[in-house]
């Protein structure tokens, strides 16, 4: 307890701004690379412009894609804004606009939800409140009054806390029967990557899947603590690099490994950096200056307290729902359930005109892109959303009163496929996303479902 108390008391002390500066530069450059990659891969068209229908988030149905030229302009703008953040040019407005534009892009469609996009939104939100342009920035030349050499410690710690929460909840999400006892989905994924040179020849061995599963869980649960401790920090950082480069090599997870590697730089303080580059162990006395923030310190503390309460509640909210989370996916997003399922699904919708008794069979590919169809096929909220969209589409075609049922089969982590959404329920009668529990075929004891 003494350690925790000492840590708590140290939060209001002044520390060097350097870690935050390095973090800002790295984060900005990574976002530049990430958004250029997004543009070059043609995802603006594929993800935003091609779909006729978007799976919006509850409360955000008003967020829709802009016309083509504006969508491209917006993604280009995120690149320029990220560059400004990295250079520390018009930092405050740049990071605010980056946060808003990036988050807008991510809120357009649930099909494209990725944990690391969510992480980027959170980090850019936190950066809005931090004086990350106080040093090594163009702002310090243009606006000398922003120059700073130090900062209240907790303002750097909040980034670390966010990273810690991400890792720890990702670790907790791995404490489940499939991950630890069946070594799934890693058994499936690794056997699909046996072409990996040298080590790939072992990937079909069950013990390797178990090794990866257990190591992954222990890594996620503990790495943040090792990064926090000065003595273990360098070794922990080496592990961070090895771990994430390995995931980058093996799995199709884009920028995520690099974001986590560079984010870990925030754990290195000025003392560490001087050890690396200047062979000095003694830190110069910090020259304290008056901090400049958007908010007064007290208000900011309240905002951050609220923020972290939400960040703790969100990953735990799935306990409010019945059934196996990985099957029902209720409370799955925004909760750091990273790489814990291999799910495949199939859907076809049966629309019945109650007046004429006519039936239509709708295959989602008639309306959705490949990615949307794939993601919807195993996520009940998206299945319901699509049924509601079909209802409005058929109403436009003159069908006033109809029922819509879904024939849906899903396989989870190598299990035999079975219905996820009850085929006997008329989805048009479900009015809100909060009634979804009613449509899900709950598999209370997922462990008992036969493996394929």
């Amino acid at each position: 307890m003494t350690g925790i108390k000492a840590y708590y008391q140290s939060l209001n002390s002044k520390v060097s701004l350097q870690p935050l500066i390095i973090f800002r530069i790295a984060f900005g450059l990574l976002m530049v690379a990430s958004q250029i990659r997004f543009l070059l891969k043609g995802w603006v068209k594929e993800l935003y412009l091609a779909p006729k229908f978007h799976f919006t988030y509850p409360g955000f149905s008003w967020i829709t894609p802009l016309p083509e030229v504006w969508m491209y302009s917006l993604v280009v703008a995120t690149i320029l804004l990220a560059l400004c953040v990295s250079l520390g040019l018009f930092y405050r407005i740049s990071i605010i606009l980056f946060f808003l534009s990036f988050t807008y892009l991510e809120l357009i469609d649930k099909s494209f939800y990725l944990n690391h996009y969510y992480f980027v939104s959170l980090i850019s939100f936190l950066l809005i409140f931090l004086p990350a342009n106080g040093k090594f920035s163009l702002d310090t030349i243009l606006f000398p009054h922003v120059r700073k050499t130090n900062v209240t410690k907790w303002l750097i710690e909040i980034i670390k806390w966010q990273i810690c929460l991400t890792y720890i909840f990702a670790g907790i999400a791995k404490i489940n029967y499939d991950w630890l006892i069946l070594a799934q989905p890693l058994k499936i994924w690794l056997s699909a990557r046996t072409d990996t040179p040298i080590v790939g020849s072992f990937f079909n061995e069950p013990w390797v899947a178990y090794l990866f599963s257990w190591t992954g869980m222990v890594y996620d649960l503990t790495i943040a603590f090792f990064l926090l401790k000065r003595k273990t920090r360098p070794y922990a950082f080496v592990f961070v690099i090895i771990f994430h480069l390995m995931t980058w090599t093996l799995f199709n997870i884009g920028m995520f490994p690099f974001i986590m590697i560079f984010s870990a730089l925030i754990f290195f303080d000025e003392k560490d950096w001087k050890k690396i580059f200047f062979k000095q162990t003694n830190v110069e006395a910090i020259n304290e200056r008056k901090p400049i923030f958007l908010f007064k310190t007290k208000s900011l503390q309240y905002i951050m307290t609220g923020y972290f309460i939400i960040q703790i509640i969100l990953p735990l909210r799935h306990h409010l729902y019945k059934g196996n989370l990985r099957w029902t996916e209720e409370g799955y997003r925004f909760a750091w359930h990273v790489m814990v399922v291999e799910k495949t699904g199939y859907c076809e919708f049966i629309v019945k005109d109650k007046d004429s008794q006519k039936n239509w069979t709708v295959h989602p590919s008639q309306y959705l892109t490949k990615v949307q169809e794939k993601q919807m096929s195993f996520q009940p909220d998206m299945i319901w959303q699509f049924a509601k969209y079909l209802e409005s589409d058929f109403k436009e075609k003159g069908i006033a009163d109809m029922s819509i049922n879904v024939k849906n089969f899903v396989s989870l982590n190598g299990r035999k496929s079975q219905p996820l959404v009850d085929p006997n329920i008329d989805l048009t009668e479900i009015e809100s996303e909060f009634q979804l529990s009613e449509i899900i075929v709950k598999e209370e004891e997922l462990e008992s479902v036969e493996l394929n």
Partner: protein, 367 residues
């Protein structure tokens, strides 16, 4: 040297190693048993199925062209029947090739030039009644729904007319020109397809990985695409699934030739052969079944094999041609739809899940 500096050196070395290792897959690396099987499956599929099938198809197209020339020179019922027979031989071989649409073949959209169905009858009749010179280059410039095997079928079969009436239509020499040009064009297109596959052999056979770009992943996607085509279009649309349930006999593929069920059966045959890898008497006949057995998914393998047999049975239970059966034997056609639908689920959901395949063509990141 401080701990930090040592760590940084280790870190850089490991990073470089991690970056270099994936890029040095030059064939000298140690492959796993699974990759050996995957490569074996791809070689087996190419050498014993894709290559001979496409060569056979090119040969059938050449025969079709010859029979078409004979018919053009001697317009009589006997030659028309021979032409129809050869067309049927050719389309049934094509229905076995249809599954394999990837690499340069897919990128060239050449499948559409071979068999795009349904044809646009108005476009064809307008061309015949027009004044442009009809030759193979004219055909090459036409849209895909006015050429290929489906267009030939339209010219030589007609459910509304008897044989002599169909023959009589060819008294218009431009109709004959259109037919012979279609056949000539088909010969060129089939040879191009065969050449594309030959050129693609090395790349196809060495895509041993199980990842997104792996050959096995692409084959699964091909299987699923063809099954979806059968379920949604070849049977589903005929049943009236997209119009409120009114059967649409004329939407059956091969409606005019009354060969719909034979075509579906040929599709199923190629699906079965691709799945099992049972192409020849060669000793190394690896298919997807081997992988399921290796991953201890023996029950799933049996379910898939049984379901394939159920699909054959559901085809055989239909007495009439699909176009008429959808009216007279509607329940059997519904059963055909359901049986193929179940096979689709087994492949798209269960098989893909067990093998970790990606049933999508985008490479958007995960997690």
């Amino acid at each position: 040297m401080t701990v930090f500096q040592k760590s940084i050196i280790v870190l850089i070395t490991l990073s470089l190693a991690a970056l270099i290792i994936p890029s040095c897959s030059d064939g000298t690396v140690v492959y796993s048993e699974l990759d050996y099987y995957r490569e074996g499956q791809l070689k087996n599929t190419f050498r014993n199925e894709i290559a001979p099938l496409h060569a056979l198809f090119a040969g059938e197209c050449a025969k079709l062209s010859n029979v078409s020339i004979t018919f053009t020179n001697q317009l009589n019922e006997e030659n028309l029947i021979k032409l129809r027979k050869q067309w049927l031989e050719t389309i049934l071989v094509w229905k076995r090739c249809e599954l394999y649409n990837q690499g340069p073949v897919e990128q060239s959209f050449i499948h559409n030039s071979i068999d795009k169905w349904p044809v646009n009858a108005t476009t064809i009749e307008t061309a015949i009644n027009g004044e442009d010179i009809i030759d193979k280059s004219y055909i090459a410039s036409r849209g895909s729904n006015a050429k290929g095997l489906a267009a030939i079928e339209y010219l030589i079969f007609n459910q509304e007319k008897n044989t002599s009436e169909v023959l009589n239509d060819f008294s218009n020499s431009r109709r004959l020109d259109y037919l012979s040009s279609l056949s000539e064009n088909l010969v060129e297109v089939s040879e191009s397809t065969n050449s594309m596959w030959t050129g693609y052999q090395n790349e196809f056979e060495t895509q041993a990985g199980g990842g997104l770009e792996g050959g096995q992943n692409k084959l699964i996607n091909n299987l699923i695409n063809l099954l979806e085509e059968i379920v949604q279009t070849k049977v589903g649309k005929v049943l009236g699934n997209s119009n409120g349930g009114t059967p649409m006999p004329s939407l059956a593929e091969g409606y005019n030739s009354a060969a719909s069920l034979q075509m579906i059966k040929a599709n199923l045959k190629t699906i079965e052969r691709c799945y099992t890898g049972e192409f020849s008497q060669a000793p190394f006949r690896v298919g997807f079944d081997e992988f399921l057995i290796q991953s201890e998914s023996i029950a799933l393998n049996e379910r898939i094999l049984n379901q394939i047999q159920s699909c054959y049975e559901s085809i055989d239970k239909i007495q009439n041609e699909l176009g008429s059966a959808v009216i007279s034997e509607n329940q059997q056609v519904v059963a055909l739809y359901d049986t193929f639908g179940e096979l689709l689920i087994l492949l798209k959901v269960d098989l893909a899940n067990v093998l970790g395949s990606t049933i999508t063509f985008t490479d958007n990141d995960g997690d």
